[in-house]
């Protein structure tokens, strides 16, 4: 009786160690399983978002589809929706092989996961109503400022508050749509967030002309595709593809498609031309964390 348990234990331990070995080699694991799992976001338009029915699309999703088609030809792609809170654990524990959403590459996260070459750069700015006279962060004194719980913008606001010695009330939306509602309903005078998200929300609002994006760039954040940390081989394969895509003008093309042309589901355009930082990065690709950009 005891021996049988021992054998079962030994077998399961062996199986577990086998899985461990494969966890660090995504390419081998995907080939063995016949599928690769892409983690993506439900509402990070235009980077990654859902069209319903477990269909995902967006700039990073399409880029990842091209990458996977090239490095893992013939392997089926499975999509898993991740959130800000669970994306890193899911990549670490192997549920997700490659995360293509809107994840900022920063030093803290680099301890847990690896990032491919930066393929998008977001600048944190301020959205206000078109009628508002707020022009910069200094004008936020004694105003209500909205941002979204669980984002880096919250810490950024704290930092600016102290550095510039201004006083404002933070209001927190539980997601971006909620924060935008705060601005729309007048509960907040400004909404501080990544410019692509602001542009996306404004484009999707009832009256896009009622809002504008103003003020200085509070922070620059490189957004990149996320992979497991210990898997240098897979990261290199992804990086190599991105390098080639930059040279071939594929990234430029994708950017135009998702940021300057009408996109589903509403067929409106985000209308956000490529910023200086990303243009520079396409000349000299890098996977440096956000801290390198905001010294």
């Amino acid at each position: 009786m005891k021996k049988k348990y021992l054998l079962a234990f030994a077998l399961s331990a062996l199986a577990a160690s086998g899985a461990f070995a494969q966890l660090n080699d995504t390419l081998a694991k995907a080939k063995a399983a016949g599928k690769v799992v892409m983690g993506t976001r439900e509402s990070s338009a235009p980077l990654a978002y859902t069209l319903g029915n477990n269909q995902f699309t967006g700039y990073h999703v399409e880029l990842c589809q091209r990458i996977l088609k090239s490095v893992l030809p013939g392997v089926a792609v499975e999509y898993v929706a991740v959130t800000s809170a669970n994306r890193i654990p899911l990549v670490q524990n192997g549920t997700v092989d490659i995360e293509c959403g809107s994840t900022t590459n920063n030093a803290a996260r680099q301890k847990d996961v690896a990032f491919a070459l930066t393929t998008y750069v977001t600048e944190v700015r301020t959205a206000v109503k078109a009628s508002s006279n707020i022009k910069s962060v200094a004008d936020l004194n004694n105003k209500n400022v909205a941002t979204t719980t669980g984002t880096t913008s919250v810490a950024l606001l704290r930092k600016n508050k102290r550095a510039q010695n201004i006083k404002f009330n933070e209001v927190y939306g539980k997601d971006h749509a909620d924060s935008f509602l705060l601005l729309e309903s007048g509960r907040a005078d400004a909404f501080v967030m990544d410019d692509n998200i602001l542009a996306g929300l404004i484009a999707g609002s009832k009256n896009p002309k009622d809002f504008k994006i103003v003020g200085e760039t509070l922070n620059v954040e490189p957004i990149a595709i996320m992979v497991r940390k210990e898997d240098a081989k897979f990261k290199k394969a992804v990086d190599d593809y991105i390098r080639g895509a930059i040279k071939a003008g594929e990234i430029d093309l994708l950017y135009k498609k998702w940021f300057l042309q009408p996109i589903p589901p509403k067929n409106t355009s985000v209308n956000l031309p490529m910023g200086q930082v990303l243009q520079g990065l396409l000349k000299t690709p890098s996977d440096a964390p956000a801290e390198e950009f905001n010294k």
Partner: protein, 253 residues
């Protein structure tokens, strides 16, 4: 995965570990994640305590009028109140108070958001407490009401001196659960920008990328708070029991 509890000693802006784990405080001082955690706990306690006051006061009144013998209109109104507030999900009610009420009723536009949440949570719980108060009063033998009337008490008097003192003793155990519930339900307040424990867990977890430590700490604080309430209520239950009465047979629970 090793746990790094040092994360709570970090300054929330510089992200360096502060000696002693507490920041200098004040409007311009530094703040560590531990400071922030305790502050968030304070918010949770405040929301829960204020809501509990609203819930107890409103719940007792509504529960009582539902049992009045000669006022079918008041009893009907009480029933409507209870069904209205307990048939709408709590989160929806909080959103209604936060986003809809200030637009429909201008008086509420300038009310602090904390009070709106307290109203939402308090009135939701008041419906549940009203139901318990009604049950407590109706659990008493009918003779008690008649005895009060026979003594020449008016209706408010026999409620005050005969029925309610016994009814509240009977419902202490369900009230204990309700008090613990209100504390745990206060976590929905994060959805409307109250910086309480659940908000802290989400935000600090994201900033530090040490979500496991942060959620463990927050869980421990919720457990401590709920258990403290349990002990306080058990103490009250013991102190107020009437020897020989049915409600006094169980000590604590």
């Amino acid at each position: 995965m090793a746990l790094e509890w040092q994360v709570f000693c970090q300054d929330t802006i510089e992200r360096t570990v502060v000696a002693g784990c507490f920041g200098s405080g004040g409007a311009d001082g530094t703040q560590t994640y531990l400071d922030w955690l305790l502050q968030a706990w304070g918010q949770t306690v405040m929301v829960a305590a204020l809501s509990l006051v609203v819930a107890l006061v409103v719940g007792s009144v509504i529960g009582t009028i539902r049992t009045l013998p000669d006022s079918p209109v008041a009893a009907r109104l009480g029933n409507i109140w209870v069904e209205f507030f307990r048939n709408i999900p709590l989160l929806v009610q909080i959103f209604l108070w936060y986003h809809v009420v200030p637009v429909l009723i201008p008086v509420f536009a300038d009310t602090p958001k904390l009070l709106l949440v307290v109203m939402g949570l308090g009135l939701f719980t008041s419906a549940r407490i009203a139901e318990q108060v009604r049950a407590g009063i109706q659990a008493l033998p009918r003779g008690q009401r008649y005895a009060g009337m026979a003594m020449g008490f008016t209706t408010p008097q026999y409620y005050r001196y005969v029925l309610l003192p016994m009814a509240f003793r009977i419902i202490v155990p369900p009230l204990t659960s309700e008090t613990m519930n209100i504390f745990k339900n206060s976590s929905v307040a994060f959805a409307v920008s109250v910086t309480e424990l659940t908000f802290f867990a989400q935000q600090a977890g994201e900033e530090t990328s040490r979500g496991i430590e942060v959620y463990l700490a927050v869980t421990v604080l919720y457990v401590i708070s709920a258990f403290a309430i349990n002990r306080v209520m058990a103490f009250i239950e013991k102190r107020v029991r009437v020897p020989g009465f049915v409600a006094s047979t169980g000590g604590g629970h």
